[in-house]
């Protein structure tokens, strides 16, 4: 990791540690936990889109698989939550490999449509065969670790943001490693990458799996935090929201995923007054950011700092 990565992680850790001390509003804490969960999904998509140049509109699918499998394993089979989460992430990873092998032969819009199709299939499966069907199911065990069950918002706040920090460190390491350079090279030119010996399809599959792992982990945390699941959470709408987080935050910035997630998660709360017109505001925000903030918010802020320094 570079020096500025350490600094940013340190600032991040301080902010997270202090936040619940100063903010005790339950409502804001809850929204911030959702923002952390969304950050995880967005982080996976940032690496996939921003660094490997592959579009996915199916992240809600992995998010849903992660949530449902961990919930069912812990609720119906009595598995300890840590174990059910672990298994759930493994299963999601395996499913993502099966999807990636045929799907990543496609490029651009075709890949987007293929992953969109996958997300919809998962949504339909959850609707038809998921416990409780469209109305969902509850009583999912809360997160517990070594016999201790988490129940307060502050605990979930730390838990969810701990996972964000952890995944952020992994992602930074990856992006700064030789594998990160190989990913960038694929983004710039697949032909040239192949001609220096990079197994492009294998690398793409690996990143795809990584993004699925992050999304399913987020789903697990969601399930054991909310303790109630219904399919509507995991519809195409969610995949598009994640896409917006990535674009608004900055596709080529890992912190962009977190910033984008925070904005998009808090936006509907700020837009309560608009009622059903909120989707319109989403549209405007996305359009404006595509027009005026091509690289997203975080790179813009970085540029401002650089100019000052």
């Amino acid at each position: 990791m570079a020096k500025r990565d350490y600094i940013s992680l340190l600032i991040f850790a301080l902010l997270i540690l202090c936040f619940p001390v100063f903010v005790q509003d339950n409502y804001i804490l809850t929204v911030t936990i959702f923002a952390a969960i969304n950050s995880l999904v967005a982080l996976g998509l940032t690496i996939l889109m921003g660094y490997a140049g592959q579009i996915s509109l199916g992240q809600a699918g992995f998010y849903g698989i992660g949530a449902y499998i961990s919930a069912i394993l812990s609720l119906n089979f009595g598995l300890p939550v840590v174990f059910s989460m672990f298994l759930s992430v493994i299963v999601s990873a395996l499913i993502s490999i099966l999807l990636a092998i045929p799907a990543l032969r496609l490029k651009g819009h075709y890949l987007a449509v293929a992953t969109l199709g996958f997300g919809e299939i998962i949504y339909v499966i959850l609707n038809e065969w998921g416990p409780g069907g469209p109305s969902g199911f509850g009583d999912i065990p809360q997160f517990s670790f070594l016999g201790y069950t988490m129940s307060t918002l502050t605990e979930y706040f730390y838990l969810s943001w701990f996972f964000v920090g952890l995944c952020m460190i992994f992602s930074m390491n990856l992006i700064n490693s030789m594998a990160g350079k190989a990913l960038k090279s694929i983004h710039d030119s697949e032909t040239a990458s192949v001609c220096i010996g990079i197994n492009v399809s294998k690398l793409k599959i690996k990143v795809f799996v990584l993004s699925a792992i992050f999304a399913s982990l987020a789903g697990c945390i969601y399930a054991h935090f909310v303790t109630f699941l219904s399919p509507s959470t995991f519809s195409l709408h969610y995949s598009i929201l994640v896409l917006m987080m990535v674009i608004i935050g900055g596709m080529r910035s890992l912190w962009g995923a977190v910033v984008g997630a925070l904005i998009i998660t808090f936006l509907p709360e700020a837009l309560r007054g608009f009622k059903e017109y909120d989707i319109l505001v989403y549209g405007i925000v996305l359009t404006l950011s595509l027009l005026f903030l091509r690289n997203g918010i975080v790179p813009l802020i970085e540029d401002l700092f650089r100019k000052k320094a």
Partner: protein, 253 residues
Amino acid sequence: MILQMKNIHKSFGGIKSLSEVTINVAEGNIHSLIGPNGAGKTTLINIISGIETADEGEIYFKSVLINKKPPHERAKKGIGRTFQHIDVFGEMSVLENIMVGFYPKKEKSFIKYALNLPDVRKNKKEILEKSKEILNYINLYERRDILAKNLPVGEQRILEIGRALAIEPSLLLLDEPAAGLNMRETRELGKLITKLRDERGITIFLIEHDMDLIMKISDKITVLNFGRVIAEGNPLEIQKNDEVIKAYIGEEE
């Protein structure tokens, strides 16, 4: 013979691009492929590097049939190349362009990269040193932190050669390396190519239109016209060959 092409055929939608092309490239040679535009030269290089597949015929690299091998495996076996339309990794620095060339041979598992384990760090350091060595060798060390897309064309072409060197090739395919270069740059390029042969023992198979360069550095020349080999020999033989003169200038009335 490091590279043997036997009876290569290739058509695009009924138009024959290459027919009955048989060329042998001897180890340690600078072997040039010349011919008028549309003669099928780039297609042949694409077939050797595996970006395109031949309809018929065989390609042997170090006596191993490589027809069915995907391009990335051919690169790993030691076939490097550059592109007629420059294809550097524009958004990466000059140094990174070289470094990434070392990645495939020294690839580690994703988990190791994510955990930044000591051997991954050591591996990166080695790659960094080797890359700097290459940059020094091709005289681009001063430019190491510039984004590749911001380099002038001449240096981008040299960078492509540097990137190909990172795969530690025994055969280097150069597709019009002098295109867009001025006279001084072309002279430097010629020196670099001969240096690669003499100092590193790399066999060069190149396409070029710059006849001065070709005649000066080639050990052997093959002439392609309308997808067929019409002549082969050393520079002197080629200059005197009637078929070649006909292909380039046209027949005497």
